[in-house]
Amino acid sequence: MRLTLFGVQGLAFYVVILGAFYATPYSNPFFLLLGFLTLLGASSLFSTRRNVRGVALELGDFAPVVSGAEVRVPARVAVEGRARFGITVKIELENGQILQGRTDLLEGRANLFVQGPPMPRGAYTAKRAWVESTHPAGLFRAMTHVAPPAPLLVYPAPTEFADGHSTSQALGDLLGTSESAAGDLQPGGLRDHRQGDEVRAIHWRASARRGRLVIQEWEAGTAQGLEVVLDRRCDSDEFEEALSTISALVQLGHTNKETLRLHTQDLSANYGDGHLQWSEALRFLAQAESLPADGPPPPAASPSVARLPRERSHV
């Protein structure tokens, strides 16, 4: 519970009135007015606290959001009994940005969105989340804290490519490749089951033989497919452009149910059905940082695999 700015001004005003009361001879009407003002402050303190008591907040998780788009997270507030006024839900991110959503009148339950302005690419941990109100008089701010949601991922805006193109055409737009893209998935190797693997990717026969769960990996066929090498030893502009291209590839792969294989300095991963989830790719895109020019090279890959940033591939 704390004073608002209006509350601080009100307190200063009260002190002035109190001083005037004692500076003048006692009078009953003045005492009555002073009593009224005192009770207004005291009742505001009590009522503001009472307004947020019992308000239950359920916060959804942040969905990854593209940079440049408004951040939204769904929330549900619920209360029993009397109506509450001016209930605001706030989430503070680690960069100081505050997202908020509000319902002016809460009777029963209400769904709202906690929103914030567009943010640059990155992963933002939510430091704290709370419900607050300044009802009735705006003198005090009462807060009830809740567990903050999982971090917010803001991934780069995907590079534009024409809708409706096939995978190969889109790859041509994005990576400048001329070879046909791999449309078929070929079975790759078997590996042990890891947490997060989908049930349908389990190879049951191999699992029965081995006595443990085994995953069938799929990979693109002889054609190139969605595979890209990202060399992070580049300047920031090139790096952001490269990430935007990969973001577009993620979108393409998710839409066309393709697999994306990504190689970079400290990562080689497959994303898509039977592999890592696309959200992991977005997490990488949100958190990736460029490396200095003397950093380690990316893993070796076939010369036919597309490389990003694109300029470097022509050097």
Binding site: T4, F6, Q9, G10, F13, I17, A20, Y22, A23, T24, P25, Y26, S27, N28, P29, F30, F31, L32, L33, G35, F36, L37, T38, L39, L40, S43, S47, R76, A83, F85, G86, T88, Q100, R102, T103, D104, L105, L106, E107, G108, R109, A110, N111, L112, T134, H135, P136, A137, G138
Partner: protein, 648 residues
């Protein structure tokens, strides 16, 4: 109504009430306030110009100009008007803020200013009008604060939320006012506390002889503005022995015998000694004690406590036989027959009052006045008194040979029956004796006493004006009579050749007792009485209230026993209201009730476990009539929204 409009309406009402506050204090005349009233009422129309630079510049120039004029007035005048000038400036700022705040700007300052104006207006004028205005001020103030808090983050609540906020604000107003009254009654405090800067800061205007109703040993015809009701206790009287009913209601302090045509003052002691006043038969018994005349057959012994902090007069009724101060030497007999203490402030003394029947007045008007009484018929030749002379001649064209007392009564009755009482400071009050006697509009007791005395003197009937206190509202619980500053009164003492000095009060008695006032007049009197109870509240009043509260259970029980039917009816009504309220709170939401009603109207019996959608499908396949089906579909959708969608 949108929240922005509601907030602007609240601020507009606040500013209007502020203007009425200022008008009530008479800091500015109505002619000066009319433009501000007009600008306040036109604020919604002028809002369109709020962002216009020329409009804003004009406003700023106006405010600065008036501020400059006020500063100039203060430097030339006395500090007594600084509060009033401040009020004018404050209310001007209010109108300025109302007309120039953009919708995106917060009106915080407007609220602070509004309350400050209320405080200052209440300090200057403590009449019942202020009490009523403050009651009207609180709801828009609190509603406005709630709307301001709701729009604090740039959000604008919808109409439903706005309506609920306004209702919440109204309820909160009632609760806060009730709590304030409770704190006012129960909070312990020093009712006699002096100002921190006692004696240094006095905002009473120097033009007013007295800014509040109270005892004075001077009487003026001039109308006073902004006279407040001072309900502090002035005298506390208790009967020690004898019949309370025999105690007079007139308690004399000063005797005024000389007039200049516009005011009355006490006769100079030299004049009194020379005239050998006929009331100087007081005999000192011992130091400070005095008695006069033969001992009466029946007496009433009273104790008097003077609480008026600003006078040296002791208040002694005309029927007093003996005076006994608490401390020897406390009281000094004055040549005029009154008593004064050595210093101001609290004083205690006892009186023996003559309870024998008063001698019958008699005596024929002779027109020849004994030398000792000549000072009591003197009048200056002042045009201010011409109206009094004319009226006296009209009422008593031929006084010779007439019973003097009948002449006196004729004139007194004429004043009582043809003139109304107006409280001091009334805006309609006359400004001179001539205006009072000529208009028959009415006036306060000083005008009645002065007019009466002047008319008597014009007929050479010796008389003088007595000032003091009047009252006979004995408290049955404590057996005391408390006379307050506002009970100050002026009347006339007429010398009768047979009975001596007799008190005659020409002021009409309180209109509640004399006439049959209308509903509004009675309501006004009730409001004034209630407000006087607030402004005059002190330790004694609190003790009386607690004593009364302690008798409530017994009274309640007695009331129940004497009115069993009525009590049962009232309890049944309260119980019904509580049950209905509880039922309304636990009721299903309206869409759910309407859905049930739609099913009943469609004559469908839900099967166990059947969902509303399944019911609707069944009704559709059973070819329910189209109107009922449409109604059922609409109710089903509303029910789903209520149950599953929630509100945002």
């Amino acid at each position: 109504m949108s929240s922005a409009k509601a907030l602007r309406a609240c601020t507009q009402v606040l500013v209007l009430i502020n203007l009425v506050f200022v008008q009530m204090t008479e800091a500015a005349g109505l002619h000066a306030l009319i433009p501000l009233y007009a600008l306040t009422l036109a604020a919604p129309l002028l809002q369109r110009f709020a962002g216009n630079r020329a409009y804003l510049t004009a406003w700023n120039l106006l405010v600065m100009g008036i501020f400059g004029v006020l500063i100039w007035s203060v430097t030339r005048g006395d500090l007594g008007n600084v509060l009033e000038y401040g009020l004018i400036l404050a209310v001007l700022c209010q109108v300025h803020l109302l007309n120039n705040l953009r919708l995106d700007q917060r009106p915080d300052l407007l609220f602070f200013n509004a309350f400050l104006i209320a405080v200052v207006a209440g300090y200057i004028n403590r009449g019942s009008t202020f009490g009523l205005l403050f009651l009207a001020f609180v709801p828009p103030f609190l509603m406005g604060l709630e709307l301001l808090a709701a729009t604090g983050d740039g959000q604008e609540p919808g109409p439903r939320a706005t309506g609920k906020l306004l209702r919440d604000g109204a309820k909160r107003s009632g609760v806060l006012l009730s709590l304030s009254l409770l704190v006012f009654v129960f909070w312990p405090r020093d009712f006699e506390r002096k100002a921190f800067f006692h004696g240094r800061l006095d905002f009473t205007s120097q033009d007013d002889a007295s800014a509040s109703v109270g005892f004075t040993d001077m009487l003026s015809h001039r109308r006073r503005k902004s006279v407040g009701k001072d309900n502090r206790p002035a005298l506390r009287i208790q009967v020690l022995d004898g019949d309370q009913a025999q105690v007079t209601s007139l308690w004399r302090g000063a005797l005024l015998g000389i007039t200049d045509g516009t005011s009355w003052e006490p006769l100079h002691p030299r004049v009194l000694r020379r005239s050998a006043d006929v009331e100087t038969d007081w005999v000192p018994i011992d130091t400070g004690h005095a008695r006069r005349g033969a001992p009466p057959e029946s007496v009433v012994q009273v104790s008097v406590q003077r609480l008026d902090p600003a006078t040296q007069y002791a208040f002694v009724p005309a029927s007093t036989y003996a005076v006994k101060p608490a401390e020897a030497g406390d009281l000094e007999l004055q040549p005029s027959g009154g008593f004064q203490s050595r210093g101001e402030g609290s004083l205690s003394y006892e009186l023996l009052l003559d309870a024998d029947p008063a001698p019958e007045p008699g005596g024929t008007y002779e027109g020849r006045i004994p030398r000792a009484l000549r000072p009591y018929i003197e009048l200056p030749s002042s045009p201010n008194l011409d109206a009094a002379h004319a009226l006296a001649a009209e009422l008593v064209p031929d006084p010779e040979g007439t019973d003097q007392f009948r002449l006196v009564q004729r004139i007194a009755n004429h004043l009582r029956e043809n003139y109304s009482y107006l409280p001091p400071g009334s805006s309609d009050a006359p400004d001179s004796l001539a205006e009072f006697l000529g208009s028959e509009e009415g006036g306060h007791c000083e005008l009645f006493a002065s007019g009466f005395a002047t008319m008597l003197r014009s007929l050479s009937i010796p008389c003088r004006i007595a000032t003091g206190y009047r009252g006979d509202h004995w408290d049955p619980a404590s057996g005391t009579l408390t006379l307050r500053m506002s009970d100050a009164h002026a009347w006339v003492e007429v010398y009768d050749p047979t009975a001596g000095w007799m008190s005659v009060d020409p002021t009409p008695a309180a209109f509640l007792a004399e006439s049959k006032p209308g509903l509004f007049a009675r309501a006004g009197a009730a409001v004034r009485s209630a407000w006087n109870a607030v402004t005059g509240f002190d330790e004694e009043a609190r003790a009386q209230l607690f004593a009364w509260a302690r008798t409530l259970p017994a009274r309640g029980l007695a009331g129940v026993r004497s009115h069993p039917l009525a009590t049962t009816g009232v309890l049944a009504l309260i119980g019904s209201l509580l049950v209905l309220r509880r039922r309304r709170r636990t009721q299903d939401p309206l869409p759910v009730r309407e859905y049930r009603a739609a099913i009943a109207r469609a004559k469908i019996t839900p099967l166990p476990g059947e969902t509303p959608r399944e019911i609707l499908e069944r009704a559709t396949s059973n070819e329910l009539e189209p109107v009922s089906l449409a109604r059922l579909r609409s109710a089903t959708e509303a029910h789903e929204r209520e149950r599953y969608a929630g509100r945002s």
